[in-house]
Each structure stands twice: as structure tokens, then as C-alpha cells.
Amino acid sequence: MAAGDIGYWTVPLAVLGGAIRISTPFLFVSLGECITERSGRINLGLEGTLVMGAMSAYGISYLTGSPWLGVLAAGVTGALLGALHAGICSLPRVNDVAVGIALMLFGTGLAFYLGKPLIEPTAARLPAIDFGFWSDIPQVRQALQINALFLIGVALAPVLYWAFKTTRWGLLIRTAGESADAARAMGYSVNLIRLRATMCGGFLAGVGGSFLSLFYPGSWNEGLSSGQGVTAVALVIFARWDPMLCLWASLAFGGAAALGPALQSVGVTAGYHLFNAAPYILTLVIMIITCSPKRTLTGAPAELSITR
């Protein structure tokens, strides 16, 4: 048994620590997608954005020695991919789901292409804040090594909630998502609103990707993200397009993803790979429970192609 003196307590601790560590990319991608989908457009390409963000963050951090510049670069890359998505989707008769799939393939391909030379070198990582200093137990200390990006994400959720509810911009995004005609009647360009919303979404997804390469797991390789971007897009659906629910859902996902490694650390290795699939299975199960063929989902933006 590797756990030492605290025995099976390692498991809930590791799940908690994992929930905090692993949830960060889910959180950023889902908050970003929340903005995009509220404006009435879906971007399935965020998987590609996540991987591109991870690659560019690692590259910039390696070149400049500053991980925070890397985070910024990842965000900008994500925003550019978002602009590309929005630009193509604004053409007549172009299906946003299909464009998302295309950009998912394009983004991952481009990241693998450009990231080839980055597999060997080591880049400067994002620092962690040590919230576990009060404890003598190494497992507790490890679980409470929290990255600043996680805290930013946690703070962002209520801010977005508030912004959707009360600000002018929030109202405009929701109007574009509920009724493009109404937004047009008010004299706004729906395409422009959606362009900005998709760029914001891409920016956040890129930042989420930078967390993958700069903090956890903390290096660049091609197996870095396997479906976390897509899972986060699905997460928005059962979070009912509500940023606060996105936060709780992301934490649940992080915990589910940490379960396999946590059990392995106390010697339970059976079904290890199946536990790796836990976030995807969880997503599917929750979608099965919350969806219904009879009605549109409560809270769904009326213009969203995927729920109509």
C-alpha cells in the first residue's frame, strides 16, 4: 500500500485534490462555451481550441520563460480560432455544428504539427499556491496545491452569472440567443454579437488549454487532451447554460476523472481504464437523465441549433 499512515483516506483526498486540479480546463471551456451558446451559436471546435491553447502556451512559455505570457498567448490563439469559427458560421447556409467538427480536427492537427518540436524541451510552469501549509500530512498538502487559474475560474463563474443577468452586454448576448430578429429590430448586428461571444468563448477555452500544458499534467504531448473539450461542451447543456452550475458540474467532472488514479494509488487497479472513461460516462448518463424528447430544455437559448 502506497498510502502510508492515512490508509484509504487517501481516496477522498485524492478525489478532492483531483477535482480541484482536473476541473480547471473543464471550467474554462464550459464558461467560454456558455457565453458562445447564450448568443445562439454552438462551437464544437473547442476541443481543437483547447489543444491549440495548450500547445501555444507551452511554446510561448518555453521561448519567453514566462508562463503567464503563455496563458495570454493561449487565450489569443483561442480567440482567433473563435473568430474563424464565427466568421465561417456567419456565411449563409453554413451549419455551425459541422464547422465545429471541422475546426476540432483542424485545431488538433495544427497543434500536433506546430507542437512537434515542443515534445522534448521543458517550459516554465505555472506556480501553485500552497494552501495546505498548515498540515503535516503530505497527501493533504498535495491535494491543496492550488493553481491561480483555478481561482480565477471560480471567481469568473459568479461574475458571468451577474453579467448575463444585469449588464447591457449580457442582455444583448441573451437577446441574440433567444431571438435574432429581436436583436436585429433593436438595431444590432447579430453576427457581430455572436462573433464577439465566440471569440470570448475561444479565449477562455485557450486559457483552459494552457492549464493542461503548464500545470497539470504539465507538459506538451499529443495525448494531452482526449475529449475534455467536447465533454465541457456537453457539460454546458446539462448546466442549463448557467455559469454557476458550470462551476459545480466541472468540479464533479474533475472528481470523477480523479477517481481512477486515486483508487490505483491505494492498490485498487481493477478497471483502471474504465475509470478513465468516468467523465465521459458521467456526461452521457447526466444527459440521458436531464434530456427529454418531449420538450426543449429549460434555459436553452431558442436560437441554438443543437437543442431545437
Binding site: A102, F112, V230, H273, Y280, L284
Partner: protein, 358 residues
């Protein structure tokens, strides 16, 4: 479409639509190739060399042709996995998962039937492969129809679940103790492999693909079932009004779609790998989506498009050796083609000289 507008159709009105369906994707393809040329030029490679080696690696010699057709086989089958449900208006992108499940069940069948004569084993593998992939995509179809779960997202989640199941089994009950670094299942045995078309190195999987594509074409355009599916794809409410069982249509179509991708997995096991391991997740399922979209979900058009994209994949090795491009460059090009093709949707009915007077 241009043809529906004209009172007395002339040549342009009658064929403008068909010409559009060939001209616009072809133009998108050329655009993507040009952009990819610019892209590699930025990295200091000569784009003309690029095009030359791509042609050489894809269609330049008999050897590369065989390579291309071998790669096209799974692409035809996985493209059907997207194209068939598309008739019903569904966007299924989980062909990779169905391929893995098909490979897994085909391998299981082969290992269980080990004692039987090869032909029995092979038939068992085909049936198991189709069933494995078919049930996997039916799951996404059923969730869509009975629970309202979006099939695009669920089918993609199922890819990752299928990969986890595959990894679990090849590291567990199916594991060959001799596979040390890369966990694999036991081999299905040389006698049970499906082999090549005589006189070539192209395996029979290509013929499976041709048959499946032609059968799908007949099913969609020349049977009542296909007609009903297209009606339901056009307007679900109208389909229900005339008494079509939409649920049954969805389940059967998804089973056939997944079965095609499962057959691709069976072919990869029985003609190429000889066993199941994570190597099977080579991205055929994802390239298949692109093939289906490029072919505008027409099963017959899938055949040439799959050969074209099979050629691009086949040329990847040569680009790597001669130009030092990373192996991911093929995916970059595929992504560019996909983006161009989708953006070109905006052009239909807008090209002046195809419209004629109305």
C-alpha cells in the same frame, strides 16, 4: 437549386445543380491545397515539391495506388457511418468508436471460434464486427430518439468510452502475455486473415467498402425504406403524419451506419493488424466524417472521395521522409479541406454562370 426555378429547363437549369455539386467541392479542395502550400512555404518548404510528392505518394506509382486503396477501404466504411444517418438529418461523428467496437467484437469472435475452419471464423468476424459497431451507434440513435440526447455529442463521447473499453480489455482478459510494451490481444492467427485481392497488395476490405457503398446507395435511392428515411430527414412531422415509424427508421439506419464502421474495424483487424490494440485508433473514423461531408452524404460519391483522401493519407509517409514534414501535416490539410468545403456551402445557387435566366 437552380433547376427547380425554371419553367422550361435548358441545359444549365437541368444540370446546373449537378455541376455545382462537383464544381464547388472541387474548388474548395483546390483552395485548401493552395492554402496548405502557403502554410508549408512559411516553414521554408517548396510548395511545388509538396504537390509533387503528394501526387507521387498517392497516385504516382502502382505501389502508391495500392497503398491509397488500402487506406481508402476503412474511409469508405466510416464515411457511411456519417452519411447514412445524415439522410435522417442526424449528425453522427462517432465512427471511430464504432470502428473500435467492431474491431473488438471481431477479434473476440475470432478468438472464440479459433478451432473452426477459417471461412467460418471470417464470417463470424464480419457478423460480430457489424453487430459491435451497429449496436454502438444504435445507442446514440436510440438516445436521440427516445431521450432527446443530442446525437453529435453522445456519439463523440462514445468514442472515448469505446477506447477505454478497448484499453481495459487488451490490458485485462484479452491480453496476450507476449505483448510487453504495447498491450495487445492475442493474434487471430494467420490462417484467419482475409488476405489480398489476387495480383495486388490491396486487401479485400476495399471490396467490402465498395459493396457497402453501392448497397447503401441502392438502399437510400431505390427502396421504400430509403425514401421513407429521406422523408423523415426532410420533415419529421410530415413523416409522422403519413404514419412512418421514425423511431424504427432511426434505429435501423444507425445500426447499418455503425455496422459499416464496425466492418471497417473488422477489416483493420483481419487484414492489417491481426490483433486488437490501441493502434486501431488511427483516426480513420474522423477522416471518414470529412469524406462523408465532401461527398455530400452520397454513398456513391463517397468512393472517389475516400480514394482521394486515402491518397492524401498514403502520401503522408513520403512527405515525412522527403520534406521532413511532421506526420500531423496530413491532419492539418484535412482540417483545411474540411473548413473550405463547409464554407463553400454558402456558394450554392450563387454562381452566376450556373444559374441561367429564370
Amino acid at each position: 437549386m437552380a433547376s427547380s426555378r425554371a419553367a422550361r429547363p435548358g441545359f444549365r437549369q437541368r444540370h446546373g445543380g449537378t455541376i455545382e455539386y462537383i464544381l464547388i467541392p472541387a474548388g474548395a479542395l483546390v483552395g485548401a491545397l493552395a492554402l496548405f502550400g502557403v502554410f508549408v512555404a512559411l516553414f521554408g518548404k517548396n510548395p511545388l515539391d509538396l504537390y509533387f510528392y503528394m501526387y507521387q505518394g498517392a497516385f504516382g506509382t502502382w505501389f502508391s495506388w495500392q497503398n491509397t486503396l488500402t487506406k481508402a477501404a476503412p474511409l469508405i466504411l466510416t464515411a457511411l457511418c456519417t452519411a447514412l444517418p445524415a439522410q435522417l438529418g442526424m449528425v453522427i461523428i462517432g465512427g471511430e468508436g464504432a470502428l473500435l467496437m467492431g474491431a473488438l467484437s471481431a477479434t473476440s469472435a475470432a478468438l472464440l471460434l479459433q478451432a473452426a475452419p477459417p471461412l467460418v471464423v471470417q464470417i463470424g468476424m464480419v457478423l460480430a464486427g457489424v453487430a459491435g459497431g451497429g449496436l454502438w451507434i444504435s445507442l446514440a440513435g436510440g438516445l436521440r430518439h427516445y431521450r432527446g440526447v443530442n446525437e453529435t455529442i453522445s456519439s463523440l463521447l462514445l468514442v472515448y468510452i469505446a477506447l477505454a473499453i478497448l484499453n481495459q480489455l487488451v490490458e485485462g482478459v484479452m491480453r496476450d502475455p507476449a505483448s510487453l510494451n504495447k498491450p495487445s490481444s492475442r493474434e487471430i492467427g494467420a490462417a484467419n486473415m482475409i488476405g489480398s485481392i489476387p495480383g495486388t497488395d490491396v486487401h479485400w476490405g476495399f471490396v467490402f467498402g465498395l459493396i457497402a457503398a453501392i448497397a447503401s446507395y441502392v438502399l437510400i435511392y431505390h427502396t421504400v425504406f430509403g425514401f421513407a428515411a429521406r422523408v423523415a430527414g426532410g420533415n419529421v412531422r410530415a413523416a409522422k403524419l403519413v404514419g412512418l415509424s421514425v423511431g424504427r427508421l432511426i434505429m435501423i439506419t444507425c445500426f447499418l451506419a455503425g455496422g459499416a464502421a464496425g466492418l471497417a474495424g473488422m477489416v483493420e483487424v483481419a487484414a492489417v493488424q491481426g490483433r486488437t490494440n490501441a493502434n486501431l485508433a488511427a483516426g480513420y473514423g474522423f477522416t471518414g466524417i470529412l469524406v462523408a461531408f465532401l461527398a455530400r452524404h452520397n454513398p456513391l460519391a463517397i468512393i472517389p472521395v475516400a480514394i482521394l483522401l486515402g491518397g492524401i493519407s498514403a502520401s503522408g509517409g513520403l512527405l515525412q521522409r522527403r520534406l521532413g514534414l511532421p506526420d500531423a501535416s496530413v491532419f492539418v490539410l484535412q482540417g483545411m479541406i474540411f473548413v473550405f468545403v463547409l464554407a463553400s456551402d454558402a456558394l450554392y445557387g450563387r454562381i452566376g454562370f450556373l444559374k441561367g435566366k429564370s
